[in-house]
């Protein structure tokens, strides 16, 4: 099966969802994906169906079926209490200090709404950061699927920090390099430290599906979200 993804709006994702999951024999699908709808989200979901190529609106080409089963961080803001254990665990693992300011995961507090939202890199299949890097300093770790910054190669030009539309690559002025989540080499410390299971490390397929459902549900009430 060959699948091409073209640009669209989040609302169209519902169509994708129905097409993929409700058709008994998904064959050739032309699915449309918007800039923001996380190419990887579709990848992860469709991944389980069959091998296909994917071209998105950035002209990114990827052979999904070749990718092995990967795990990814699943984040559930409803469970988060804002304790920052994850931020400390992350900075400790990566920088050797308890220092939320240098954490790759960040909790955003919505005071008025009474909500805490943990946020980190989603390890996009076709990562903007990776493609933007002029010197090949960001590479995918085949084992974990994480996009990793190679410190020795990174020149600190910061182009990845403006290219990642999720805002999850940050420049570290002290070292002159960029930092981003690398899934701790497959043993994410944030997930281990989280006391509420707001962050868990699960099969990528599962997160893809869940996110897809969440998105599908959300497109229904997008109007009242704001």
């Amino acid at each position: 099966m060959r699948l091409a993804l073209f640009p669209c709006l989040p609302a169209d994702l519902r169509i994708l969802y129905n097409r993929v999951f409700q058709s008994s024999k998904p064959e050739c699908l032309f699915v449309i994906i918007s800039f923001d709808t996380h190419a990887n989200l579709c990848h992860n979901t469709l991944h389980s169906i069959s091998k296909f190529d994917l071209i998105n609106d950035q002209g990114l080409v990827h052979q999904i079926g070749d990718k092995q089963m990967l795990r990814s961080l699943n984040i559930n803001p409803d469970k988060c209490t804002g304790c920052l254990q994850c931020e400390m665990a992350c900075s400790f693992e990566n920088e050797g200090v308890f220092n939320p300011a240098k954490s790759r995961i960040k909790i955003f507090t919505f005071h008025e709404e009474g909500r805490f939202v943990p946020y980190t890199c989603t390890q996009c299949d076709e990562a903007w950061c990776l493609h933007a890097c002029p010197v090949e300093a960001i590479k995918m770790n085949r084992e974990t699927g994480a996009m990793e910054v190679l410190d020795s190669v990174c020149v600190g030009c910061k182009v990845c920090t403006i290219a990642c539309p999720f805002g999850t690559v940050n420049y570290n002025q002290t070292t002159g390099k960029v930092i981003k989540c690398d899934l701790c080499g497959g043993d994410p410390q944030c997930a281990a430290a989280c006391p509420t299971e707001a962050i868990t490390y699960v099969d990528a397929d599962a997160t893809g599906l869940e996110k897809m459902r969440a998105w599908a549900a959300k497109t229904d009430n997008q109007a009242h979200v704001n």
Partner: protein, 618 residues
């Protein structure tokens, strides 16, 4: 190591800032935070100084575990001489600013003198400056927080500030950090205002990295988090219900002081309890409680995030109060509710918001309102003083009105800002004030929980439950159950709790962990982080040393054994209902025994022997 070994000295009079190394010898004896800051304070200030004069100092202090991954390791304390009591004031707060300060590389900030005009302290790691704050003066804590965030252009900055009540001279004004966390008691905010210091804004990017044995530290802290998670109180009760889990429990055992402590049970306790907070409201189907929330590094997450019913009379036309903010903790719910006889959850939440917004202690405030209500019912305070507001027990309108008045310090608000003791004295009825050493009681009636009577009487900062929370033992059976109605063994229990708590308060950890942890659980965490061979024994010894140091200071400040007392009402008027019916507080039995166990004289004086035993300054 875990101390940053650096303290900051801010001379507000001169507007100068300097850095000095931490006295590590003292750190070994006094741990950090409460203990260590007190040691500095005792060294540097005249016990007889005017709490609101330039000679008083104001210390913000973190503990060695503040800013680390140890669960609840986010605390800081504010140490000063309190205007309410004239004793040492030491108020502990959570939230995030303590860890931020540590992360910026500071164990402690000592503020001295008085700035000629309003200023704020801006700390970004080792870059520290005093900025003019004339534009912030007269603003609430919430507005100040917003304005500073905008001015400094940094959403991550953490802010502690005082509100209008402190500026107006309310004697129980608090330092509020992170919008709704408070170094709440004893008027530490009033001292901050007296120094013209409006706020402290901190951004720390250095982190806490000098843990002695990182590997062991990660391991023991993880193990101890597991202990918290598996404990019924810290693992389930507190996260689900918050401290409010106590409301119905304490009411049932007949220890819920009601209507200015005239009664020990409140008929509407169930309307203002944790259970009530979780109940969907009729108007919008949403409960008062939105979610629980954690302070920095806390795996318990007892904090309440709440909303007020938009249609409630207190906020009807005030959308600024419609969002979520810090909701009711047990002590606040009691003071604002049971003690004033108000059973309206929304009104209590509103009063609590206002306490946070303009920075004053809800316990002292609620108890003062209760006293004012009694004065009103006795006809001493009249509608003339209150612009016609009827200060009746049970009146939600009166409660909300009082909160707004204290916030602004206008009219009768200035009287209420004096606190219960001075208010009752002013109106000639000192016996109606439910205070010790000038500070209002918290939420446990000593007639129903005897140990708390001794706790209040001997607390170094005036009536306070957090100095030795014998409720744990007497009500909840932690570490073992004692009879709340009996005075037997309470002197020893109180001393043990006082010393242990002084140690915990000095580490950077939250005292709520002690529902599940003893010093045996805490010592290995301190030891993995800090040099010094920290055992439970060493911590306890430090705790006792701290207690004696505080005691020594307040005696030099002029307080005596005679101040270790309770109001007559608790000693003479027996509880009228519940299990404690017929009981009065048995202080007369417990106090002499306590002095003896402490090794003090029979009138409560420290001896030179005790001083030298703990190496206290002569």
């Amino acid at each position: 190591m875990s101390w940053t070994r650096k303290i900051m000295r801010v001379n507000l009079t001169e507007g100068s800032i300097s850095e000095e190394p931490l006295n590590m010898e003292w750190a070994d004896q006094y741990i950090g935070q409460r203990g260590l800051a007190t040691r500095y304070f005792v060294e540097e200030t005249d016990p007889k100084c005017d709490p609101l004069g330039p000679d008083n100092k104001l210390i913000f202090a973190t503990g060695p575990l503040t800013g680390t991954m140890a669960s609840t390791g986010g605390r800081y304390s504010v140490i000063t001489k309190g205007p309410l009591t004239g004793a040492i004031a030491c108020s502990n707060s959570g939230g995030f600013i303590g860890a931020e300060l540590k992360s910026a590389g500071w164990d402690m900030v000592i503020c001295e003198g008085r700035s000629p005009s309003p200023v704020m302290l801006h700390i970004v790691d080792d870059k520290v400056e005093l900025l003019p704050a004339d534009d912030l003066w007269g603003k609430s804590v919430w507005d100040t927080d917003k304005l500073i965030h905008q001015k400094l252009n940094d959403p991550q900055i953490r802010i502690a500030a005082i509100g209008r009540s402190a500026e107006a001279g309310c004697l129980y004004a608090a330092v509020i950090n992170d919008l709704h966390r408070a170094a709440g008691r004893s008027g530490v905010g009033t001292v901050m205002a007296s120094k013209n210091l409006k706020a402290m804004a901190v951004r720390g990017t250095l982190g806490v990295g000098n843990v002695k044995d990182p590997k062991r530290f990660m391991q023991v802290t993880a193990e101890q988090k597991q202990v918290l998670a598996e404990n019924a109180v810290t693992g389930q009760g507190l996260p689900a219900m918050g401290t409010q889990v106590l409301m119905n429990v304490i009411n049932e055992i007949g220890a819920l002081p009601t209507n200015n402590m005239r009664e020990v049970q409140f008929k509407d306790a169930n309307k203002i309890s944790a259970e009530a907070m979780a109940e969907p409201r009729e108007s919008d189907g949403k409960p008062n409680l939105t979610t629980n929330a954690a302070c920095f590094g806390c795996t318990i997450a007892c904090g309440r995030i709440s909303t007020i019913d938009k249609g409630h009379f207190t906020v009807e036309n005030k959308p600024e109060y419609w969002g979520n903010s810090g909701g009711l903790e047990y002590e606040a719910a009691w003071a604002l509710g049971a003690d004033t006889g108000v059973g309206d959850l929304d009104a209590l939440t509103y009063a609590n918001f206002v306490c946070n917004e303009d920075g004053f202690d809800p316990i002292s405030f609620g108890a003062t309102v209760a006293a004012a209500m009694e004065l009103f019912e006795e006809g001493v305070v009249t509608a003339e003083q209150t612009d016609g507001m009827e200060l009746r027990f049970g009146s939600a309108e009166a409660l909300a009105w009082c909160a707004e008045k204290v916030a602004s310090g206008e009219g009768f608000g200035a009287d209420l800002g004096l606190g219960s003791k001075r208010l009752c004295e002013k109106y000639g009825r000192p016996e109606l004030s439910m205070t010790v050493k000038g500070q209002e009681f918290p939420a446990y009636d000593p007639r129903g929980v005897q140990g708390m009577g001794l706790t209040y009487a001997t607390s170094n900062r005036g009536a306070c439950h957090l100095r030795s929370y014998t409720v744990a033992s007497e009500v909840l059976g932690i570490p073992e159950k004692t009879d709340p109605l009996s005075v037997d063994g309470k002197a020893g229990l109180v001393k043990a709790f006082q010393d242990a708590t002084a140690a915990v308060d000095s580490t950077g950890l939250c005292v709520f962990t002690t529902f599940a942890w003893s010093l045996d659980n805490i010592a290995p965490q301190v030891d993995a982080a800090c040099e010094g061979g920290w055992t439970a024994e060493k911590l306890l010894e430090a705790g006792e040393r701290i207690w004696n140091l505080e005691r020594d200071y307040i005696q030099r400040a002029g307080l005596t054994g005679a101040d270790d007392n309770l109001p007559k009402r608790l000693l003479k008027d027996a509880a009228k209902t519940g299990p404690a019916e017929g009981k009065v507080a048995g202080l007369d039995v417990m106090l002499p025994e306590y002095y003896q166990i402490r090794g003090w004289t029979s009138d409560g004086q420290l001896t030179d022997e005790t001083r030298s035993k703990f190496g206290l300054p002569a």
